[in-house]
Amino acid sequence: MKLITAILKPFKLDDVKNALQAHGINGMTVSEASGFGRQKGHTEVYRGAEYTVDLVPKVRLEVLVDDSEANSVVDVIVKAASTGSIGDGKVWTTPVDQIVRVRTGERGVDAI
């Protein structure tokens, strides 16, 4: 089992979510995030005083999948999230030892 984590441009979230649902993914977790990579922040001016804001707002999307699906789901996310410009984000996968569905107690792949 794999945890897929994607850092996305906030306005691409709906596209990615719809693409994942169309691909048969039935659950995900989304949270607000901020950070920077190659895309630097911006400058804001208040009464003439300039502030550099270097953390850019992003969303973090997390999906649990079976090993066999991991690559195709990553492809779906990358395709839907891409605009071709700096700041599109990153997607990575992490091995997962155990998953439990809280309501039923199901474990492993059944709990995805």
Binding site: V45, Y46, R47, G48, A49, E50, Y51, V53
Partner: protein
């Protein structure tokens, strides 16, 4: 002498004006509150709110007499006696002449000026002031600075027949300050500078970003201030007449000019016209036209406002050069704007718009009026700055004026008021009774 008959039109306008001026202080709380960070917005607003409470009580006990009492017949302060307003219910206003409005309406109107002046100072010392120290400061400062200075500027004396007693020093000298450029704005601005020096810089000043947490609140506040300022300026005519109309129109167009002036500077210097600049420019214009609003023609009001917008937008950068943390620019807006507006009368003043007005330099009146204006500016700024410095130092050395460093970093709302302004997320606020 004919008996004075109450004028219900004038009285109605003055009652409305009084309520308008009160609204400026909660408006100021929004204006300032939006400019600080989320962790100190409540304290910022509470500094204005507690001022309403304290000054109102002082006023009805002795403040009104100390500012406007004539029995002492002194140019420096009114009477050292209780205000005793309860026995004055049927009295008319007598301030350099009898006005057909109740004395209590005049007293209430002037109270609102006494409230907003110390509230204005609070912007200079945002995020770091011990609340009890602020409350004590407000009570003492209002007593030894505002009430006497209001007497110097606003007390035209008790006129009975040909005799007038108890005229304030600057009023007697012929200072033209229609609604408080000196007594309110220069007074508050100079005091703000003194306190910013006494309290010192905020933790992290010039190192970390101290961005306004809510510009919509700032804009709301500037709107309320603008609205209330019509009572402040046009109400200072003490009548619903042509002079009030002039003050009203000048207030509008000077503010418009300053708004444009400020954002023009920003557009040219920084590339963007900002909402904070528009709100700040409006307030700078309101400040600058306050003393001049019934002494200049509307075209001159536009010019005074426009220059105020440019001047104040440049003046707010001074604190970085000189290294004092006047957090919300009380000096750059109220002191600088107040000085400019007060001196501008010396250039643009004309008797054409106001029969008791004197011609300034541009109307062939010479420099006599400018000299009087400069005297008023210098005396009020000097007195306020020095007395505030001594008072601030005394409070700092006795009970302390600042909250501890850790509390300031954690946020003053929590340490001084045990409250937080915003529920930022649903998961971060556990707890039980």
């Amino acid at each position: 002498m004919e008996a004075t008959v109450l004028n219900s039109g004038d009285t109605a306008w003055m009652l409305a004006s009084t309520a308008l001026v009160l609204l400026m202080t909660p408006g100021l709380a929004f204006f300032y509150g939006g400019m600080v960070r989320t962790k100190s917005v409540l304290n910022m607003m509470m500094m204005s709110m507690v001022t309403i409470g304290i000054v109102s009580i002082l006023w009805v006990i002795y403040g009104f007499e100390l500012a406007f009492g004539y029995k002492g017949n002194s140019p420096w302060f009114g009477s050292f006696s209780l205000s005793g307003l309860g026995s004055q219910v049927n009295a008319f206003t007598n301030n350099g002449g009898v006005y057909p409005i109740p004395l209590l309406v005049f007293a209430a109107f002037q109270l609102m000026f006494a409230i907003i002046t110390p509230a204005l100072i609070s912007g200079a010392i945002a995020d770091r002031t011990k609340f009890t120290a602020w409350a004590i400061f407000v009570a003492i400062w209002t007593t030894i600075v505002y009430f006497p200075v209001a007497h110097w500027v606003f007390a035209f004396g008790n006129k009975v027949g040909d005799k007038t007693t108890g005229t304030g020093y600057l009023a007697g000298k012929g200072l033209e300050d229609f609604a408080g450029g000196t007594a309110v704005h220069i007074n508050a601005g100079a005091a703000g500078l003194a306190l910013a020096i006494i309290l010192g810089k905020r933790v992290g000043w010039r190192k970390e970003a101290m961005r306004p947490h809510s510009l919509p609140l700032v804009l709301l506040g500037s709107g309320l201030l603008w609205f209330g300022w019509f009572g402040f300026n046009a109400g200072s005519a003490l009548a619903a007449n042509g002079l009030a109309g002039l003050a009203f129109m000048n207030t509008q167009v000077a503010t418009a000019g300053a708004l444009i002036g400020w954002i023009l500077v920003e557009k040219i210097r920084n590339g963007h016209a900002t909402s904070l600049g528009a709100a700040s420019g409006a307030v700078a214009g309101l400040v600058a036209i306050t003393p001049a609003c019934a002494f200049v023609a509307p075209w001159a009001a536009v010019v005074i406002g426009f220059i105020a917008g440019i001047l104040c937008s440049l003046a707010v950068g001074m604190k970085y050069k000189f290294g004092f943390d006047d957090s919300l620019d009380v000096v750059g807006v109220h002191l600088v704007g107040g000085i400019w507006g007060s001196l501008a009368i010396g250039f643009f003043g004309t008797h054409v718009v106001n029969s008791v007005g004197i011609d300034g330099l541009f109307y062939g009146g010479g420099s006599a009026l400018l000299g009087k204006q400069a005297l008023g500016v210098g005396m009020v700024a000097g007195y306020s700055f020095i007395v505030t410095l001594i008072l601030g130092f005394s409070i700092e050395k006795t009970i302390g004026f600042r909250i501890p460093r850790d509390a300031e970093i954690e946020g003053i709302d929590l340490s001084e008021h045990a409250e937080t302004a915003y529920e930022m997320t649903s998961s971060s606020r556990g707890g039980a009774f």
